[in-house]
Symmetry: C2
Amino acid sequence: MRTMAQVRQALSSLSGFPEWLPAGHIVEQHFVDILRRTFELHGFSGIQTRAVEPLSELTKKGETSKEVYLLSRLQADPADAESETDPRKQLGLHFDLTVPFARYVVDNAGLLTFPFKRYQIQKVWRGERPQEGRFREFIQADIDIVGDGTLPLHHDVEVPLIMHEALSALPVPAVTIHVSNRKVAQGFYQSIGIDTDRLIEVLRVVDKLDKIGPEKVAAELTQSVGISAQQAAQALRLATITGTDGQDVSDEVLRALAGAEPTELLNEGLAELTALLEATGRRRPGAVIADLKIARGLDYYTGTVYESFMAGHEDLGSVCSGGRYDSLATNGKRTFPGVGISIGLSRLLARVIGEGLVEVSRSVPTAVLVAVTDEAHRCASDAIADALRARGISADVAPSAAKFGKQIKAADKRSIPFVWFPGGDGAPDSVKDIRSGEQVEADAATWQPPTADAAPRITVSPAAACSPAGGQDGCEVDSAS
Amino acid sequence: MRTMAQVRQALSSLSGFPEWLPAGHIVEQHFVDILRRTFELHGFSGIQTRAVEPLSELTKKGETSKEVYLLSRLQADPADAESETDPRKQLGLHFDLTVPFARYVVDNAGLLTFPFKRYQIQKVWRGERPQEGRFREFIQADIDIVGDGTLPLHHDVEVPLIMHEALSALPVPAVTIHVSNRKVAQGFYQSIGIDTDRLIEVLRVVDKLDKIGPEKVAAELTQSVGISAQQAAQALRLATITGTDGQDVSDEVLRALAGAEPTELLNEGLAELTALLEATGRRRPGAVIADLKIARGLDYYTGTVYESFMAGHEDLGSVCSGGRYDSLATNGKRTFPGVGISIGLSRLLARVIGEGLVEVSRSVPTAVLVAVTDEAHRCASDAIADALRARGISADVAPSAAKFGKQIKAADKRSIPFVWFPGGDGAPDSVKDIRSGEQVEADAATWQPPTADAAPRITVSPAAACSPAGGQDGCEVDSAS
């Protein structure tokens, strides 16, 4: 079993743009395969959107504009120069998959069937200063459901449960999905008399609670946003409410009003949150917990919001986030409300690979290296390899007809488990398990490797499974598909 | 069976940046899966490189600089402004996968095992004016083998054979790989007395033969490049030589010298080309043909070069190209010679999808839509769907508890073959094949759909199979993996 130590060294020669060695890529591909399989089992269609969007599309909802990478052509025609200052023509790399998806839905509304369920696993780019766990280029894996005009609440239930199922199938510590509802927060602030035009600002400041702590949040709420100390204290009290029982959570929120009358928006939010908790608790107990400090920075969320934390790795922040957006996708006439959730896959992988939480049995797909007796007989080795491949066994042929000891070493260096020796002159072929040294006669038309050796195996490393940071809960040994 | 007509409408709202509808993405994913499987069967490791490279890296070999998209940050710090004019710091999107791979090999040389075989399926970008079949963003699928210091010729044989095997597994017309050797062309020009400093220029002009025809090539060779009319005629004669027998091809090249003495480089090139043709002809007859007009525009090729043409679709140009590059990957001290070949996957897909050469049985992964009796019993339908998914059957639950007729219509609109009706109150469940109308009792714990209905099926459309453009040769019906 090969540890990932070697892999960890190889992040990137360009800060913020991670790259994996082949063993790391096997882990990444394994994660992607599991996500894809889970999403497809639930009837989600895969799509890819182009990497670029007009700047006007990317900055439509404000706030994120500072993160955008703009494109220009190294040798642009002078005629194109003016288009580069027109935000409808100026192109930028997408910084998430939700904004491009909303645009895709509007572009293709007449050709899609609603509700439309899609998954999308793609790179995104953000021109931020890179820091630990923050990349400038990274893979996101998103699922979203959009309706035409309306979208029932049961989809707000479906989305986190599917993501939780997918995350539970990965060889990572247990993940819990935390939910809140924008309507609860906004309705609560309304109820205690905070002006409507300050709501978004309050949400943004409260969202920093985990980062800067309650004192600084309170100070910022009173000093910068300008709400009263009592209102700030109530907002902070709301933010401390957590629980899995919808009725209990709802009761606590109402108590935190300290006698103020709940607005219609608050009641609507509490009804949604309670229904969500009831359904998720029944279908997947322990997967979802209410956590009313969750607000999400992005402007486009209008109801349920999600964040997710990995046991023992809470310092990583949310590994998987999203929410309900009722008015992001619109062409003016029709609106397509949506709900979705997104894994920051590269960040999760950087932690899993960087801390050696998983091991991979070899860094190549190859199960068998076919030895070459001499260059004149390379064709015999090629024929053996082709016979193995025809039955789905990954095989490579030794690069040179060196002494067999050297050829075995070449296999061992790549952790290829088997070396095949052509017989020739009527003698039978033989195959050697280079781990045990056992060598047996074999026929390339019928021999099979043990199932466990067919493909590189990804396992939770023993160290990770025993450490407090490891996942005794959700982190079972998992084999490559 | 759903034709791809609907899919064809949906290229993109931004010229040169293609996007597929879900049915088109199923075809794309099917192609990617087949390529990946073939490459892994041959022991190639998957990697991904970052999308960006320093401009100095991208323009190292010149010529392609006009195609590069540069990046800038929308709100860059003034401190960063100077770095944006330094080509070692200025970033651009990669325009192929060979240059980034060479950089990756040099970056990680100490951590890789040589010869290193890798495949890479990724998007690339070129800031060209878009035209039919030319995109600004497209997917390439590459395989390459690099050695440390040396790389034997048998890898020049291996690479086109693997790609031919992969292309033959795709539901597309037969592809033939055309090969030549830079040493043959350069050695031939040397032998007939063309100056060394004009060789690259001659190669470039001859490369346009298919586009502009022999008269214009001859005129350009004599007038712009400045070689004699006889030299131009000989260069054109070389370019017409094709064949699958190495000895015949070699003899014809020597005859075209018209008495001139072959240089060492020409003899070396002919020996390589002959050995290549002998091995490919034996291992995969008909896959590879010598075609001495192939030159490839890029400067980094030093020996064998490949282009490939699809039967009936020669107008598309080469669908798959590459060659040997002995000095692209170097850190000054060590050099890593390589050989590789690359499919322009998006261009191939645009033709296959655009001309309706394939059909896909449905646009969603879903095999079963579970009906909902009423919203109060949605949980029963969720449980049925979960039981099906647990056994690998893709299932979705009806979005609303409409009348059953309407729910069946919702399945039909997506070409989902089965609708499941929960029994309830002790009555058994039943499942209806909505194509035949047949409905039978069923248990979600044991029922299986026919294998052919488990996943969307991709087939060669009957029209394509019968038309002259279709592939009676290599274009068999293929089912989704």
